[in-house]
Amino acid sequence: MLAGRDVRSDFPVLHQKVGSHPLVYLDNAATSHKPRAVIDAVARFYERDNSNVHRGLHALSMRATDGYEAARARVARFINAASPAEIVFTRGTTESVNLVAQSWAAANLRRGDVILLTEMEHHSNMVPWQVAAERAGATVRYVPVTGDNAEHGLDLDALERLLTPEVKLFAFTHISNTLGTINPAAELCRRAREVGAVTLIDAAQSIGHEPIDVQALGCDFLAFSGHKMAGPTGIGALYGRRALLDAMPPWQTGGGMISVVEFSGSRWKRAPERFEAGTPNVADAIGLHAAMDYLDGLGRPEISLHDHALAEAAYAALAELPGIRLLGPAGRRAGILSFALADAHAHDVVTFADQDGVALRGGHHCNQPLMRKLGLPSSVRASFYVYNTPDEIDVLVRSLRRILAFFRA
């Protein structure tokens, strides 16, 4: 129950059994489910308005274009960007990061420069920078993750030492997809600005869970996906400050992004069209619009409180299990809870829990270097969203107790 309404009834996929058990979906950090409003918005587009955008002068094309650009404006409002021109539609967080790592880096990164990341980055906010650095002759530094199980936050003292004038860009995750740590994003951006570094926030795990205001955060870029925030797969966005975007070269070329094409060469449109070559994902942008309306209908501060309460309740309940190691902070944490059991490997846990209808994630969560540092080959992750309930935490704990009884016997 969120904002006094039966949220679960909004999500058709939840009303099914896995085997003989009701589905308990706790893999929301991988992808969230979609409310009826989003599914309908996508279907309605294909049923009524389907057409290409920015090209046709006929009625359907104009409706499609209006829908697509309204979605862009909705994204700008959702994150409080200064203008819709600061929103580039992409396939998701990974593509947004790659866009900056290719386009911005090509124009701005030089030999001897430094890209600063953190040890808790998802591979998608690590590998593109490693490749960009190698191409430019730059180096990559990492802000360490510190503390025992009770903390697992960034080492802010080390940041002082690492954030030198050679750092041209600082890219970091808002919320760790493994630890559930919420990073002090506004402070990190402020400190980066002091040395003149450009900032990129990976908001994949925060966009659907916390209120986001890019102007209050003070970031230069922000990347996110639609599918982790009740929206469709295959759509996401890159926010970039207008001045930065307009100074960046195209990264993919073709139709839709040119102003003039001649046999001898071409000129580009301004941002955001410059970065959207080819026919865009119109239907899913419209679905994303519906997802943002849906989340704001529930209230993002309320969603945040709901997630945090579930995560803290789950932390307390799981801490009772014998031989468990919980990762990340006990309090003030996002709804992402990873753990390892001494007596059962993560994959065995996930297979067992699945037999009880509980969907978990097991593995390295695209955080291989971090898991290595923590001395864990893999962990189990439970992650919560608007439709999860305290009863589902009870189901999880009962399932884990059964698993432990089996493997400890």
Binding site: H345, H347, T351, Q355, G362
Partner: protein
């Protein structure tokens, strides 16, 4: 939980709890490392080939009960055999985990028949075998390098 008790047979639980031939083999003259990038499981297989016979074999690494038990049981079956015999056993094992059909003759490999109902876990069961076959194909190494290798 009937599918689960089928999957986690006593033979598998026993090999998982008390793995046989686990650890590095200082005298190994063949070694290979395998991993499942999607799940993070790792396996190393160390062999000492004496002529065409597998005189000694060990495995090391980390992974789920299925992968650990499979690698453990495998070492007990491959020891003393040849590379063609190993391949033949692997083919038999692969049939069992993909179809659930067990051979007529009595074999501990049959314990893995339950895996076929969990397609996502087949790669767990076969990791050790793939790594062992790769070790058998790999060029000889000096025992010192074998001792130093590993996941």
């Amino acid at each position: 939980m009937s599918d689960l008790t089928e999957l986690y047979q006593q033979v598998i639980l026993d090999h998982n709890r008390r793995p046989r031939n686990r650890g590095r083999l200082p005298v190994a003259n063949r070694v290979a490392h395998g991993d499942n990038p999607t799940c993070g499981d790792q396996c190393s297989v160390f062999l000492r080939l004496d002529g065409d016979r597998i005189a000694e074999i060990t495995f090391d690494g980390q992974g789920c009960a299925i992968s650990q038990a499979s690698a453990s049981l495998m070492t007990t079956l491959l020891k003393g055999g040849t590379a063609p015999e190993a391949k033949e056993l692997y083919d038999q094992f692969h049939r069992i985990v993909t179809t659930g059909e067990t051979p007529d003759e009595i074999s501990d490999l049959a314990a893995f028949a339950g895996v076929h109902a969990f397609p996502a876990r087949i790669k767990c069961a076969t990791l050790g075998w793939h790594t062992a076959l790769e070790a058998l194909r790999s060029p000889p190494i000096t025992p010192a390098a074998g001792a130093g290798g590993g996941a």
